[in-house]
């Protein structure tokens, strides 16, 4: 080996040292509790999410995450008590007055409130906001348009909603984001605003800054009518994917990892003594739909047989590592009227019963029942193909079924609803409003079922569901929904599979997190111990 030039050696050494020094300096040690440049007194909480912000317009946004932003910077006339599904007055002073026939709701508004841009909050603004949603015809506008006929300004602080019919669950609609009042300065009456020039607030937080896909910074709103937030600042960091977020919370770069971590990462982090895991029942459900007016699933017995052989536990354990809960009814666990109808009728995973049912129709080991099981590979995350595989194995374990897995990208998948060529297909649901009606009618009500590609028509089911829509007493509605669920288990227009849990991983000094099946995360209750 010849002598290496002295100059080159020295250069290399210096470069190496410099690089090494730079790396050590940039190396992440668990950072101090506050942000790098924050004064010690201010309490800042950093939350990470992989969700994306869509349109920052209550009349157009139709995803839970963008709704969450509005629920923290704004408020509805009615709102949920954090961590519960209990409705309480929000921007309204008190519970509304309801007319005898249930079609008129009169709200008395809180007085003396203004939006952060100075616009006064009053009945005019409420009417403007509701009319606006109807006019702009945004994605969620049906939540207003299908129910509200008109809004009347009774006086400066009293507003009346006149509905198209009796809807017992109207209060839960009012609590949803499309009904939130907006500032006319920023949101014109007839146009959707994806990126408002100013994110106006009237709720617990004001917006300090927002950079799409990077971060959202919220600060406590001193003009908030309710109890002030327990923290001063929230920084929302947007992550490209779940793995990056997992690493960030592990290294202490963020305080809370919110939606959505990989199930394997959650399971792994549960074993980490330096992190806390908070779990709550979610509102997200997954289920299998059948085309009820075509081949082969127009025969109810075949639907029942498939429902018996759904190995929900394997899906929950193997694919989702228990970050989801097996579900035995379309009405989610934790919602009033929920009963485990499918389990009660068929059991958890009943191979014998499935064989029995299929034997009735002449299917056996030599002549198995063959059908296609459809799924969409990316829309619900990349665990979908695994889930389809596990379900297929569970079904074929009966020995009398043969399943062919088919997939279609979301666009084609939705197209296929009308065509009706996917005999059995997997679907998911996030609620529009928190009421059993939203988990049942869209699938099994004869006027709605077709648009979901299910094509189910049954007068008995209609009686239950329509009846529950108009009855005003909780007791009556509960009874009807219980009947509906039991009937559902026999009819099986859809077969529930699992319900997602809401899981957050946090640093050990974070407390006060309250999440509920409403899927709402109110940042104001979070504090650092």
């Amino acid at each position: 080996m010849k002598r290496i030039s002295l100059k080159i050696t020295i250069l290399a050494l210096i470069l190496g040292l410099a690089l090494f020094g730079a790396l050590m300096a940039g190396c992440e040690k668990p950072a101090p509790v506050d942000g790098p440049d924050e004064p010690m007194e201010e309490s800042v909480i950093i939350i990470g999410t992989t969700d994306k912000v869509t349109d920052l317009d209550p009349g157009e946004a139709y995803d839970f995450y963008t709704w969450e932003i509005f629920q923290n910077i704004s408020a509805g006339l009615l709102t949920y008590e954090p961590g519960t599904t209990e409705l309480v007055p929000g921007l309204a002073e008190e519970w509304p007055e309801v007319s005898d026939d249930g079609t008129e709701y009169t709200f008395k508004l809180r007085e003396g409130l203004t939006f952060s841009d100075g616009t006064p909050f009053n009945a005019e603004v409420v009417k403007f906001s509701i009319d606006r949603v109807i006019t702009t015809k945004g994605d969620p506008s049906w939540l207003v348009d299908d129910f509200v006929d008109s809004v009347e300004v009774v006086d400066e602080y009293t507003v009346k909603f006149i509905l198209k019919d009796t809807f017992a669950y109207f209060p839960s609609l009012v609590a949803s984001v499309p009904y939130f009042p907006v500032s006319p300065n920023i949101y014109p009456a007839d146009e959707v605003v994806t990126d408002p020039s100013e994110l106006v607030a009237i709720g617990p937080y004001k917006v300090e800054s927002f950079v799409r896909e990077v971060e959202l910074v919220l600060v406590k709103n001193p003009d908030y009518y309710g109890e002030p937030a327990k923290n001063d600042k929230i920084i929302m960091k947007y992550f490209k994917d779940a793995t990056t977020m997992r690493l960030a919370v592990e290294k202490g770069e963020i305080d809370i990892a919110w939606k959505t971590l990989n199930p394997t990462d959650i399971a792994d982090l549960k074993g980490n003594p330096d992190l806390k895991v908070v779990e709550a029942a979610g509102a997200y459900i997954r289920y299998l739909c059948f085309v009820c007016n075509g081949d082969p699933f127009s025969d109810k017995i075949l639907r029942e047989a498939v429902a018996c052989a759904l190995d929900r536990t394997s899906v929950a354990e193997k694919i989702f590592l228990n970050t989801v809960e097996p579900l035995y009814s379309m009405v989610p666990i934790g919602m009033w009227s929920h009963t485990d109808s499918f389990e009660e009728t068929w059991g958890e995973y009943n191979v014998e019963k499935a064989k029995e049912l299929l034997a009735e129709l002449g299917y056996n080991e030599e002549n198995p029942f063959t059908f296609e099981l459809w799924y969409t590979p990316t829309h619900y995350g990349d665990t979908e193909s695994d889930m389809a595989l596990i379900l297929k194995q569970g079904l074929e374990a009966t020995g009398v079924m043969k399943v062919e897995l088919k997939s279609a990208e979301w666009g084609s998948y939705v197209d296929n609803f009308d065509i009706g060529n996917m005999g059995a297909f997997l679907l998911g649901w996030y609620p529009d409003y928190i009421d059993p009606d939203n988990y049942t009618s869209p699938f099994a009500l004869s006027t709605a079922s077709d648009s979901m590609g299910i094509f189910y028509q049954d007068p008995v089911m209609d009686e239950y569901l329509l009846g529950a829509q108009v009855k005003t007493k909780m007791k009556d509605r509960t009874a009807l929904y219980e009947d509906a669920q039991d009937y559902w288990a026999m009819e099986v227009p859809t077969a529930p599979i699992f319900q997602g849990k809401l899981i957050l991983v946090t640093q050990p000094d974070i407390a006060g997190i309250k999440v509920a099946p409403t899927m709402i995360f109110n940042y104001k209750t979070v504090y650092r111990e």
């Binding site: 010849k2 002598r3 290496i4 030039s5 080159i8 730079a22 790396l23 300096a25 940039g26 190396c27 992440e28 950072a31 942000g35 790098p36 950093i46 990470g48 994306k52 869509t54 349109d55 139709y62 015809k137 994605d139 049906w142 994806t194 990126d195 799409r212 896909e213 990077v214 971060e215 960091k237 992550f239 490209k240 994917d241 793995t243 990056t244 690493l247 960030a248 290294k251 770069e253 963020i254 990316t378 279609a408 990208e409 979301w410 666009g411 084609s412 939705v414 197209d415 609803f417 648009s451 979901m452 590609g453």
Partner: protein, 348 residues
């Protein structure tokens, strides 16, 4: 000998039809995709009226191509001439905004990747040339062939495992290279050019500079190592030629130190072909960037393209590909001109 100017003009004229062809190919591919993007956007809750409205807004109800001017192809070309790349259907922001946001990340990654490829490639190639026919030479030659066969994303994953996960275990959780993202979530980066390291230097944020460099190590190494293969072989071949030349032999005879001769004169001569090779490798660089970005959750154009494909966001797919096509065409144009500048024999 033709003038440089004539060459430039000819070359430019040649580029235009090439770009047009690429744009047309992109248009054809993207418009024929199965799955209606409008229905994908609206979901099952979209009413037929909403679907019709959206189709009209996006100009999708016009015929794809026709004899007149009122068809999608013409719209497409005229939009491009105005610099309008459309609005991303999934993200709801103009595609150009997204590209502006994501491109600097890719640029930063590829710059550092190229630097590594350059250093590793050139110095190994030169070393191998000098040590001709020894074990070292054969090993380096084998490396040159083999590295090209390694799937770039696998190399990335292995580096993540070794220097991300295992290194952390070995050092008791105290030190490891980041395996995802461009910068720590704790830092809100100052953005001027979009190249975090540069921006950190400009704004004097030492933390930003070191943290970004730290995050760059593994992805840049992945990209750089795989690309170095071709540089190794090219440098070696060129160095061998140069080493045999009279110029070197006479310098040898004059007793100038061999090493000095090799690394100063020979390297300079081998430099030019490598430079042009860098330009030609640009296409491969882009492909490598796509795979590297996906592996390291690097928010660049590659990730954006892959996401757009998953969400059937056809304006985004179209826009990104057009951008890449223009980029590739420009780079090869520049490289050709530089080469013609240096070596007059090449001009037509």
């Amino acid at each position: 000998m033709r003038s440089l100017l004539a060459y430039i003009i000819t070359r430019l004229l040649l580029t235009i039809p090439m770009i047009l062809i690429l744009l047309t190919v992109v248009f054809l591919i993207v418009r024929v995709m199965p799955g209606d993007p409008v229905i994908a956007m609206l979901g099952p809750k979209g009413t037929p009226e909403m679907i019709e409205q959206m189709r009209h807004d996006l100009g999708l109800d016009k015929p794809i191509i026709s004899f007149g001017l009122d068809n999608q192809y013409v719209d497409y070309l005229s939009d491009l001439l105005h610099g309008d790349l459309g609005v991303s259907t999934y993200y709801k922001v103009p595609v150009w905004e997204k590209i502006r946001l994501y491109f600097p990340a890719t640029l930063e990654l590829t710059i550092f990747g190229l630097m590594i490829a350059f250093f590793v490639g050139i110095f190994s190639g030169a070393f191998a040339a000098e040590k001709r026919k020894t074990v070292a030479d054969y090993s380096i030659r084998l490396y040159g062939i083999a590295i090209y066969s390694i799937p770039i994303f696998w190399l990335g994953l292995m580096l993540q495992i070794i220097f991300g996960v295992w290194l952390e275990d070995i050092t008791g959780g105290r030190f490891a290279f980041p395996i995802a993202g461009r910068i720590s979530a704790r830092i809100s980066p100052e953005v001027i050019t979009g190249l975090f390291v540069l921006d950190g230097i400009i704004t004097g944020s030492w933390k930003q500079v070191t943290n970004s460099l730290f995050h760059l190590v593994l992805p840049a190494m992945t990209l750089g190592l795989v690309l170095s293969g071709i540089f190794v072989r090219l440098t070696r071949a060129n160095m061998l030629d140069v080493l045999k030349s009279d110029y070197i032999l006479s310098a040898d005879a004059r007793g100038i130190k061999r090493r000095k001769v090799v690394y100063r004169h020979a390297l300079k001569n081998a430099f030019v072909p490598v430079l042009t090779m860098m330009g030609l490798q640009f296409a491969y660089l882009m492909a490598g960037a796509v795979l590297t970005e996906t592996t390291f959750s690097w928010p660049g154009m590659g990730s954006y393209l892959v996401e757009a494909v998953h969400y059937r966001d056809f304006p985004a797919i179209q826009g990104t590909i057009i951008f890449i096509a223009l980029l590739v065409a420009s780079i090869s144009l520049v490289v050709d001109i530089v080469y013609a500048f240096i070596d007059p024999r090449v001009r037509y």
